[in-house]
């Protein structure tokens, strides 16, 4: 059986991932991706994978998002899809 908290997080994950891919503003997409990473980090903390959660927090929600934003700043912000 899976705790309800898990299920909520998982549903949120799907929602954020879809949003991140549908938003046409790449900066917003990167930000939503950051949220996605953070959610998944929570999920892992909840699943007792603390080391993974820690890494994901530092890497996924931190560095990945920052370098993605940096790229968006150095290229174009608008996307056609």
């Amino acid at each position: 059986m899976i705790p309800a908290f898990d299920i909520i997080l998982l549903v949120f994950l799907v929602v954020t991932s879809v949003i991140a891919l549908r938003v046409r503003d790449l900066l917003a997409a990167s930000m939503v991706f950051g949220i996605y990473s953070f959610l998944i980090c929570l999920l892992w903390a909840e699943m007792t994978a603390v080391d993974v959660a820690f890494t994901e927090a530092a890497v996924g929600a931190g560095v990945s998002t920052v370098i993605m934003v940096a790229t968006v700043y150095q290229t174009a912000r608008r996307s056609k899809d």
Binding site: S17, M47, T48, A49, T55
Partner: protein
Amino acid sequence: MEFFEQLIIPKFNYWIYVILMMIGMRAMIAKNNLVKKLIGMAIFQTAIILFYVSIGVKEGANIPILDHHMMPGEIHGGDPVVVAEFANPLPHVLMLTAIVVGVATLGLALAMSQKIYRAYGTLEEDDILSQIKLEPND
């Protein structure tokens, strides 16, 4: 209902991971914008990590760190370790590596997309392709 109880509920994690993975994979293949593709790629990779971490979960288990009183500093001693109390550490180890690989790939791909932007002035795949068609090449 039977189906729901036996296949969906106890394996909800696996279902979601498949869905996330498919979302990411579709973005990787079908999205036009290179950064979007990379976001898809990151989602794709985290989905796999989700799968692995789900493998290692144990009902009612704790984080895979032994308590201090189990580690009295000496080698043999302290309380016996109950395996069921600790989550499976192996998937966690594997996924640390996978996360690192993910960010390395992402960084490299972002660098490439910047270089592509430098060369073509756009990140839209179809625009780039139409520019390439004008070039004299095979």
